[in-house]
């Protein structure tokens, strides 16, 4: 019993917060602004609790497994959710069903915690569904908007379809080996054609969830249709969680098939980076722009994963941490503009610097970090990803990745140029930024600057391997 509580601490805390939020619906209800303060405090406590008493161990006959690295991964996701609760304060205060939104969001977070900890394909599937289905409901949260329901429809159908493919793959693996446990499987994986077929099905499902090209088609539409808070959750937290478990499955379970999946990852990584970059060039809507840029970022994560070494795992965890800060900052600025003025096009941002220098600087910092320009942390994240990928001595692959970095500079700088340099007779007026949003943006900016300069962040993650 004691072990149960100490090992499942992150999940139990999230469950507790969900129950607290359910109880706020009783009686007359609470005002949005005070409820949002309560949620922010609870999520901060959840994040702080992630630093203490992390033990290693398994529960439920190996179905649930945790150690210090997994605790760090969970804490990165908690940090992301805390930042979301700060950054989107404008939209949260306006929405009618704030506590429902956070109940759904935290259910998805709970699913992701179980997902990272799963030690068995049954647990893996159940938690993946728990992490996906509430997000589909969150995508439809702008009930009166046409594009919101269209995006949610695309999301739920493609995710249901991808879980069908995932299950077919798992059933073939079960037929070939007779087990679904992550610890028993590696000894039984022999890379026979039947097992490779099963792996291809599994890989397809992962590609759907991480929006790897050619399974990315739902991404941009869902991102554009959903409210900004959902979009940022989808693009940062849910992608990070799937990347973490993807590494576990590849490095632990399918290690004997390493030659098979290395080629698949390399090929998909190249086309993901190229497609993401080329489509991001022509986007006008900021959400679609960030969607395609996040597809390109997933291509870089795949470069790190292809390293197949402890450095590969370290660099991906480190990159996701930085990605949380930089992408959430970009989404935070875009959401503040969107909920105050309703403008979401990049061309509307012309001359934004004249009226809102603070927001412009945060956006510029975030985009510099996403593009990977040296003083920011994004540079170090990309550097370690490419370094881990280069361990296989496949230099053509690394060269293509590095060239894609240069292409991505163009479209990130295009946004910055239109904010700083382009003249505009009627720029967006002065926006009053909420206090909590401002605080969240400062946190993101501090993360972008310091996570790169302080080398102990990377060293600490590496020491947990």
């Amino acid at each position: 019993m004691n072990e149960f509580i100490s090992l499942m601490k992150p999940e139990l805390i999230v469950t507790f917060i969900i129950f607290v939020l359910l109880f706020t619906k009783l009686g007359k209800g609470v005002k949005n602004s005070s409820l949002l303060n309560l949620i922010q405090v609870l999520l901060l406590l959840n994040f702080a609790a992630g630093f203490f008493f992390n033990k290693e161990g398994s529960l439920f006959g190996g179905m649930y497994h945790t150690d210090t690295l997994i605790a760090v991964q969970k804490n990165i996701l908690s940090l992301g959710v805390y930042l979301i609760s700060l950054l989107f304060a404008d939209w949260f205060k306006k929405t009618e069903h704030l506590s429902e939104f956070f109940i759904l969001l935290l259910s998805a977070l709970l699913g992701m915690f179980f997902l990272i900890s799963s030690g068995n394909f049954l647990m893996f599937f159940l938690s993946l569904e728990l992490a996906t289905i509430p997000v589909a409901a969150m995508a439809n949260f702008d009930l009166h908007k046409k594009i919101s329901s269209e995006g949610a429809m695309k999301f739920i159908l493609s995710s249901a379809f991808s879980s069908g493919i995932l299950l077919f793959g798992i059933s073939l693996i079960y037929g070939a080996t007779g087990t679904i446990s992550f610890t028993e499987l590696p000894a039984l994986i022999t890379a026979s054609p039947f097992q490779i077929l099963a792996f291809v099905f599994l890989f397809t499902a992962f590609a759907f969830k991480m929006s790897i090209v050619p399974f990315h088609l739902w991404t941009a539409d869902v991102y554009e249709g959903s409210p900004m808070a959902t979009t940022s959750f989808l693009s940062v937290i849910s992608k990070g969680a799937v990347a973490f478990i993807f590494i576990t499955v590849l490095y632990k379970v399918f290690q004997p098939m390493q030659e098979v999946w290395y080629n698949m990852i390399m090929l998909l990584s190249i086309i993901t980076m190229i497609t993401g970059n080329l489509f991001a060039l022509r986007q006008q809507n900021i959400k679609r722009f960030l969607a395609f840029s996040s597809i390109a970022q997933v291509g870089f994560i795949l470069v790190g994963i292809s390293g197949n070494s402890p450095e590969g795992l370290t660099s991906v965890v480190y990159f996701v941490l930085i990605y949380v800060f930089s992408n959430l900052a970009a989404f935070g600025v875009a959401a503040t503009i969107s909920s105050n003025t309703g403008k979401e096009n990049i061309s509307d941002y012309k001359g934004f610097y004249q009226t809102n220098p603070f927001l412009t600087w945060i956006m510029a910092l975030a985009l510099f970090s996403l593009a990977g320009i040296p003083p920011t942390a994004g540079f170090f994240g990309k550097l370690f990803l490419l370094k881990s990928g280069a361990a296989n001595a496949n230099y053509l692959f690394i060269t293509i990745a590095a060239l894609n970095l240069i292409v991505s500079l163009y479209y990130y700088l295009r946004v910055i140029r239109s904010m700083f340099m382009d003249k505009n007779e009627e720029p967006i007026g002065k926006i009053k930024v909420q206090l909590s949003t401002k605080f969240g943006m400062y946190l993101c900016a501090a993360g972008i600057v310091f996570a790169g300069i302080f080398s102990w962040v990377y060293d600490y993650i590496q020491s947990l391997m």
């Binding site: 049954l122 589909a136 439809n140 046409k146 739920i156 798992i170 079960y174």
Partner: protein, 104 residues
């Protein structure tokens, strides 16, 4: 009398899977698309049961998996139908072709 073997059942389940995939890509009505997904999930159920009966009769993993798939499929269908109802309210149609505000 001839007993059905593992291959017969695998043939049916694989056929069912690809009928589901075909339906998912070609149907225009959202409810039918959802039904195609259910076909895919049910073909997986058949697979698990067949493997459990013919190959790994001493284990229970496959049977448990089937039960959970049925439960999850119901939850997924509930949310999907709620979304489709909302889509019907805003678009006055559940034709996939009508939901086309966002492209490329």
């Amino acid at each position: 009398m001839l007993q059905p073997g593992l291959y017969h059942i695998l043939f049916i389940s694989t056929a069912l899977f690809f009928i589901g995939v075909y339906g998912f890509f070609t149907r225009r009505n959202l409810i039918t698309v959802l039904m195609s997904v259910e076909l895919v999930l049910n073909s997986v159920n058949l697979n698990f049961i067949a493997f459990n009966k013919y190959l790994w009769a001493d284990k229970l993993d496959g049977l448990f998996f089937t039960i959970f798939i049925i439960a999850i499929a119901a939850a997924e269908a509930a949310v999907a139908i709620a979304i489709i109802i909302n889509l019907y309210r805003s678009h006055h149609s559940i034709d996939v072709e009508r939901a086309e505000e966002m492209k490329f």
